[in-house]
Each structure stands twice: as C-alpha cells, then as structure tokens.
C-alpha cells in the first residue's frame, strides 16, 4: 500500500487528510477522537480575540437532501470559537503534546490592525502549533464585523494581514480564501505578495438554503428571522476545483502550495483536488455528516488508487493541471459523436427526449417502427448531454471521428489542431 505520509510546508502528517477549521475541531475532545480515528491533521476552530463571540442557540445548520435523505449540500451560520482563548490554547498545547506526529494548525481571525496580530499570534504559536491559517473566508456574521470574507474579498487587505502575520509568526502562514469573489486569482496573488507560505481554499459560499413552505419565511430561522450562511458539502466541489486549478495553472500564482477544501467526501474527491494542484486536502462536511470514521475509506481508497496507478502521492499532485486551459485553446477540429450501445440500452428514452427538447434533435425514438434510440450522426454535435443523462453507466459513449468527414458539417476531418485564436470567424484572430 502506497505511503500517504505527507509534508506540507515542512509539516509532516501520516496522510494528506486534515480536518478543516470548523465545528469538528472545536475542542480537544473532538480532535482526540479524530486523531484516534486516523486523521492526519487538524486546523483548530478559528480563534479570535477575547471576550469570545457568541453563537446563536437555534439552528446553525441547514441541508439539501436527496430523497434518500443523503446530504448533498450543507450550510452553516456558526461563527468562530465561542470559548475563551486560554481554554483553546491549553487544549491545543495538550493535543500537540499527545499527538506529535499529527499536523496541528491554528486558524485565526482578528480585526484589521497590526497590534492585535502582533499580540495574539505569538501567544498562539507558543502552544506548539505547526502553522497558522488566516481565516479570510467565513461569509457570515464575522464578515459584518469587517473580518472573514470581508477581508478575503479585498486583495489589499489580504496582503496587509498576511504581512502582519508573517512578521508576528515564525511558523508557516496559510491564507484561507473565500470563493465569494468573481476571480480567485487576485486574492491568491495578494496572499503570495504578502508573504503567505500557502493558500487553502475554498471557504463556504454565501447561501440561503430554501424557504419554509408553510410559513413562507426563509429556512432555517432563529426566532422567525434568518441570515445567509456558508454553503459547503458535495455540491460545492466543482466550484472549489476550478479555483484550485486556476491558482495552480496561472504563472503568477502557481508557486503557492495549496491545501484543497470543498466537498471532499470520498477518496476520489481527494484525487480530484490533488491532481488539480492541491498538495493536501481538508475535510469538514463529510465528517459532520458521517462522523470521523470516513477517514478509513479516504486513506485506504487513495492508497490503493496510487498503487494501481503506480504513483507516489507527490507525483499525483498537479498531474491534471496541464490539461486545464482556456476555452480559446480548445481544438475546434476535433470531432466526437455519441454512440449508444444497444445491448446495454434499457430504452428509457431520456437521451432522445433531452436531445429533442433541449439540444440538437440527434437521437431517434423509433427505427423501422420499433422503439429504438440511435444517434443521428448528421445532427450530433458531440455535446455529451445524452451521456450525462443516461441512467446506465457506459451505455452511451463518445467516439472520436478520425477520418472521412463530419456528417453534420460535411467538413473533412482534420487531424491538425486549430483553435479559436486562429479561426476565420474570430475577428480578433491571430494571423500566422
């Protein structure tokens, strides 16, 4: 079994799975249980100034369920730690003493003035933590007080606070980014410019889960009123992956080590993040939904996968990054057609109706008077919609045309690459 021992910013942990700063890492009791279960590290629930903040004593969480009550998306309005700083520091010190092989990172959120950072960071570092994570991500509550996402949305603030942190800390500094921005690159660049050693992303996304269909108020509420929370869980993974890949593939930011966060539930999700440029990953929602035992599958699955691929963990990191590019560089000469395996087809007709109603009218419903679903090559644009909706795995697949001409356009198939930058329809095309 492949060794999952990971070194991130010089911090070693037995595997790349850390618990993200969140309720699961609120206190020693939880973190002890997590480490007993096998988690590689923990980012402690975000610390703030004393006196501690106060949380609501009503619903802090909301969920989107499948009909089987599987949690697909999750949101929270919990703030940072509501316990006295000293209590947290005492427990963190003990944890680091008891679990010297695990990574312990202190997440901090402080007001935007340097003296506060200079005061608190050394106090926290004294516990023996391995690194700081600056929480510039929480989109609810704390952002109203000028912290969390309110900082993460302004690159200049990120840089400023990163500089203060680097000055006050001797251990590495990770900047945790908010996804509530239009472009993740300026915040990442600001972290780098401020001297941050790494970024972690994503934090949660601004969200309202739904309304209550009886009261017609938003849901959930505290005494009839609600506020937006931070969205997370399986549903947010694609958003997180894009932001991770953007940082990993952009020249100005790609030197930043990345701790990937966002909807990681099983080991395959971890492969996604690692291959798209993260060096380790952080998990919260899956643990909150299933408990700490999920670490067994995360570790076992990833290890077996690496064995199968004959890859070391660090060889997986960034493996898929070169395959991510801008739309304008996609090969417009490349042609695929969908092919339906008639032996696997159960004749539900979903491919037909979605193609007919919403796409290119490229799938039959009747052939020679019989119910039969076949791709009409002369209409098929290769969009992958039918593959996406087909309930039978492997029944519809995409096949590249390599010779002859495309029955749809009549154009001969060219094996030469040609993208939008040189396309004749592009008024801004580059001439050779």
């Amino acid at each position: 079994m492949a060794d999952l021992k990971t070194t991130f910013l010089g911090i070693s942990s037995p595997n790349p799975f850390w618990l993200a700063s969140a309720p699961p890492t609120d206190k020693a009791y939880n973190v002890n249980r997590a480490f007993e279960a096998g988690w590689g590290g923990a980012v402690w629930k975000t610390l703030g100034e004393d006196p501690p903040i106060v949380n609501v004593s009503g619903p802090r969480y909301g969920a989107i369920h499948s009909n089987e009550r599987r949690v697909i998306g999750f949101n929270n309005i919990e703030l940072i730690t509501d316990r006295p700083l000293q209590t947290n520091l005492d427990e963190m010190r003990q944890i680091k003493k008891d679990w010297p092989d695990r990574a312990l990172v202190a997440s901090v959120m402080l007001p935007m003035n340097e003296p506060t950072w200079a005061k608190y960071l050394p106090m926290v570092e004294e516990t023996g933590i391995d690194a700081f994570e600056l929480n510039f991500g929480c989109p609810h509550g704390m952002s109203e007080r000028g912290m969390g996402a309110a900082v993460g949305q302004v690159p200049e603030y990120i840089q400023m606070a990163a500089e203060w942190a680097k000055k006050a800390a001797s251990v590495p500094v990770i900047v945790k980014l908010t996804p509530n921005v239009t472009n993740i690159l300026p915040p990442a660049k600001a972290a780098l410019d401020g001297g941050a050693d790494a970024v972690s992303l994503i934090n949660t996304i601004n969200s309202i889960m739904r309304v209550d269909y009886d009261s017609l108020t938003m849901f959930p509420t505290t005494d009839g009123m609600g506020t937006h929370g931070g969205y997370c869980g399986e549903a947010v993974k694609p958003i997180a992956l894009n932001m991770v890949a953007e940082i990993a593939r952009t020249k100005e930011t790609r030197s930043l080590p990345i701790s990937g966060i966002g909807g990681i539930t099983d080991w395959r999700d971890a492969v996604d993040f690692l291959a798209l440029g993260a060096s380790n990953v952080q998990v919260c929602t899956a643990a909150m939904v299933y408990g700490f035992k999920i670490i067994d599958d995360l570790v076992d699955g990833l290890s077996r996968f690496l064995d199968e691929k004959q890859l070391a963990l660090d060889e997986l990191v960034g493996k898929a990054v070169p395959s991510v590019t801008d739309w304008q560089y996609l090969n417009l000469n490349y042609v695929e057609k969908a092919v339906i395996d008639q032996d696997l087809c159960i004749q539900c007709g979903r491919c037909h109706v979605v193609c007919e109603d919403t796409s290119h009218q490229a799938i039959t419903h009747t052939v020679n008077g019989e119910r039969r679903f076949e791709v009409i090559d002369s209409e098929c644009v290769g969009c992958n919609l039918c593959v996406s909706v087909c309930p039978v795995d492997g029944c519809i697949s995409m096949h590249q045309l390599t010779k002859g001409s495309d029955p749809r356009t009549g154009e001969p198939i060219s094996m030469e690459k040609a993208d939008w930058t040189t396309h004749p329809n592009n008024p801004m095309r580059k001439t050779k």
Binding site: Q347, C348, H365
Partner: protein, 451 residues
C-alpha cells in the same frame, strides 16, 4: 345425517383472532413517506414511457411519480385519478407484474421494477381518507344516462358522465355498490372497507343517483331504460358461474368460488366463517388463487389447486401463483376432474392427467388420481346470463356469450354502450373495466352533444 356428512369437517374458529387478523391484514402494507420518496427516485422518467403504454387506462406513470418525488401528492393523485377513477383499487388489485411493472425499463438490468402499484396507492390513499375533492362537474347538459351495474365499468362510466355534465342513474343488482371490488376480490387485497370508501368518493362528485337492489331482467328491462333515458351503459359483469360438466356437481360441499369469496368479503367475523379441512380448487385464474389462499388463511389444513393446463397458461400471474405456493397451496398442473365422489356430501374428487395433442388440443392421458376433499370450489370462470338482457335485446349482437362492442364501447344498438367483463375481447381485469367505462362515457357525451 349421512356418513359422508359426518366426515366432512367444515367449521369456523379454526384459527384464533390474532391469526385471522394477521392473515387478513394488508397483503402489501402501504409505503411510508420516506419509502415512497426512495421508490419514486428509482423512476427514470422515461420518454413515451413503456409503463404508461402498458396501463390499460393510460395513466401518466412517470408524471405521477415525479409529483410524489416533489411532495406534490395531491397533484400526483389527480394525475392518476383523471385517467382511472378507481386508481385506488387498481393500486391494490392490478396484476402490475404483467402490466406497468413488467414494462418498467429497470427490469432490463436489475429485475426489480419501480414499485408503481405501491406508489400509486401512496398517492391516492390520502385522497380517499380525507375525501379531497379533485374533480368538478361541467355545466349541466340536461341529458340523463342509465348505467346498469355498479362495478368498475359502471361506476367509471357514471363518474365520467357526471364530470361531463350529464345526470346518471346507476342501477345495481346487489345490496352494496362496487361489483367484484366489493364481492369478488381477496379480502387481504382491499382491507378497511376500501371498496366502499372508493365508491363514496366516486359518488361525491354529484349527479349520480345510485339505486341498489335493482336487477336487470327482473325489476326493469333494457327496453324500459332505452325508452326513458338518453343513453344506456351496460356494465353487468358476468352473472353466472361456469359448470364443470360433471354428474354430481350439486353434491353438498361443491360450490362456486366467487360466491364464497363474496361471503368472506361480507363476513362480520372471519374467524367464525366455516371452512373445510381439505379444500380442492378447480381453475387457474385470479379467482382460483384468491379462494385457495383465503381458504388456507382461514385455517384449511390442505388446499389443492388443480388446473388442466400448465403454469404458463394460467390466468393468474406468476406472482399470484407464487403467492399461493408460499401460502401452502399445492398446485397441480395438467389434470382435470372426471368424477365427484360422496353420497350427499363430496368426499373425494377424481382427476385424470391431461396434455396437449399435436393440434394443441387438450386431451386425456388417463392415469387417474384422487384427492380427498370436504370442499370443492369451482373457479373456472363466469358467463354472461344473456337472459337478463331480455327479448328486447334483439339487435344486440352477442358473440361467444359476450356483448359485442366497438373500440368506444358502442353496441349494435344505437343508444346502448357496454363495457367491463360482459363485453367481448376484454381481459376480466378491474383496470380494463374502468377504461371501458371511461371510453364509453366520452363517446356517449360526444353523441349526446350531437358531435
């Protein structure tokens, strides 16, 4: 009392109250909300769905399941009931395993279809429990239609006619409405007096006058109806039981399955109902299974079901056959009765083996065997009592003892429609009868509006 009658062991109280309650509880308990949501999630929402094509009433099955999925249960019930006003009973008694669920595309790779029948029941139960009104009547047309028979065909026709604005009088032979839903289906398939609940719901639309205890050919004639109403729909089912054609069919202990099922359904206390110790059922349809299983569940010691052909030819679906076997019924194929033995009461029934000859005809193979019995139930089908139609039925074409109709239920008499088991070309299913009634009502409406 003769010797054979002393031997006959036919009595009630074979099982205690708890056993009876367990045996006659719901065959398929209803789905809870969470079970229904999971079952609904398995529907692929097929295009031109094969299940809908397989449903004789053409219910938009993916449509109603989608509404269950989105917690729009009332909308789901409307989708079902607008095509099949007896969607509640059909959810319980339809042989879904040979209709919608057989057509489900899930069978291709999983052999486990979406549980359409149970989902249909989940959607419709609250409507009947809460008496939720889903349908209203069109403006009155002033036309009056007579419906003969208050079974699935008649009631379906009456409801649709009432919806379309016509006034309807339903003439029902029995004390209670419902036809075979009330009298002819195994008790464990329709518990808690559901058949009456459903009829009440159907009548609640208004414009339907139900007259019980009115028998065609006795209390009124077809001609009288034709003279007094704008149109007539005949949905009288099949009134008489076929005979086996043996010498001593009138022996005590030999009776019609359908009559005993009616007794079971009407019994105030099932435990007290007399049932034989050794029961033999002749026949291979749903009624044969219903009587065999219910006899067993009432406490009969041995129940043998004998059918003259093989399992494939049985009218009962494979599921029903399995149900009989798991209830301890012994099924004998390829045998037919040749002699009933006993003085006054039947004691034994003698069979011979059968086979198909090279022309596909059933032939005797000899090799007789006997089964001792104190009760013999004939479940070999029913026939239409043509006599009730009266002499004025001249011009009403009858073929193979059933009324001939076209695809919209028109008989050869201009103002008379018919549907359900009494017409030719049906399959004796509740759901088909409902469709007949609906289609005829739409055609009657068209005719009465002069279209």
């Amino acid at each position: 009392m003769s010797k054979s009658e002393q031997q006959a062991d036919i009595r009630g109280n074979r099982l205690d109250k708890e056993e009876i309650a367990r045996n006659f509880g719901d065959l398929h308990p209803p789905l809870s909300r969470s079970e229904a949501l999971i079952a609904a999630d398995r529907c692929y929402f097929c295009y031109d769905a094969p299940c809908t094509t397989a449903c004789p009433t053409g219910i938009d099955i993916p449509g109603f399941i989608q509404k269950i999925r989105s917690d729009n249960v009332r909308g789901s019930a409307h989708t079902i009931l607008r095509e099949n006003i007896m969607g509640g009973m059909c959810a319980r008694v339809c042989p879904t395993e040979v209709l919608c669920e057989e057509a489900c595309v899930r069978n291709t790779h999983e052999e486990k279809p979406v549980e359409i029948g149970l989902l249909q029941r989940y959607a419709t139960d609250p409507i009947f429990d809460q008496k939720t009104s889903l349908f209203s009547r069109a403006p009155a047309t002033g036309k009056k239609v007579a419906v003969v028979g208050a079974g699935p065909a008649g009631l379906s026709c009456a409801h649709r006619l009432a919806m379309l604005g016509h006034d309807v009088v339903v003439l029902n032979r029995d004390d209670k409405p419902g036809g075979l839903n009330e009298y002819g289906i195994a008790a464990y398939k329709t518990v808690d007096d559901f058949a009456q609940k459903e009829v009440e719901y159907i009548l609640s639309i208004g414009g339907i006058e139900l007259r019980n205890g009115e028998t065609l050919g006795q209390d009124f004639t077809l001609q009288e109806l034709r003279d007094s109403y704008d149109a007539v729909f005949i949905g009288i089912g099949l009134g008489s039981t076929n005979t086996i054609g043996l010498d001593r069919e009138s022996l005590s202990g030999v009776s019609s399955a359908i009559e005993y099922i009616a007794e079971i359904r009407q019994a105030k206390d099932l435990g007290k109902l007399p049932v034989g110790r050794r029961v033999v059922v002749i026949g291979g349809g749903m009624t044969a299974i219903d009587i065999a299983v219910q006899s067993k569940r009432l406490g009969a010691e041995a129940v043998d079901l004998v059918y003259r052909r093989g399992p494939e030819q049985m009218g009962a679906s494979r599921y029903e056959q399995d149900l009989a076997k798991t209830n301890g019924v012994t099924i004998h194929h390829w045998a037919r009765p040749v002699e009933l033995l006993g003085n006054n009461h039947v004691t034994t029934i003698r069979f011979e083996r059968t086979a198909l000859d090279s022309n596909g005809r059933l032939t005797s193979q000899g090799d007789p065997f006997e089964i001792t019995a104190d009760t013999v139930f004939k479940a070999i089908g029913q026939i239409l009592d043509i006599g009730v139609l009266g002499t004025d039925a001249a011009g009403l074409e009858i073929r193979h003892d059933r009324i001939v109709v076209n695809e919209t239920g028109r008989t050869t008499l201009r103002d008379v429609w018919a549907g359900g088991d009494c017409v030719a070309g049906g399959d004796d299913l509740t759901v088909t009868a409902v469709q007949h009634g609906k289609v005829a009502a739409i055609d009657i409406d068209r005719r009465l509006r002069g279209e």
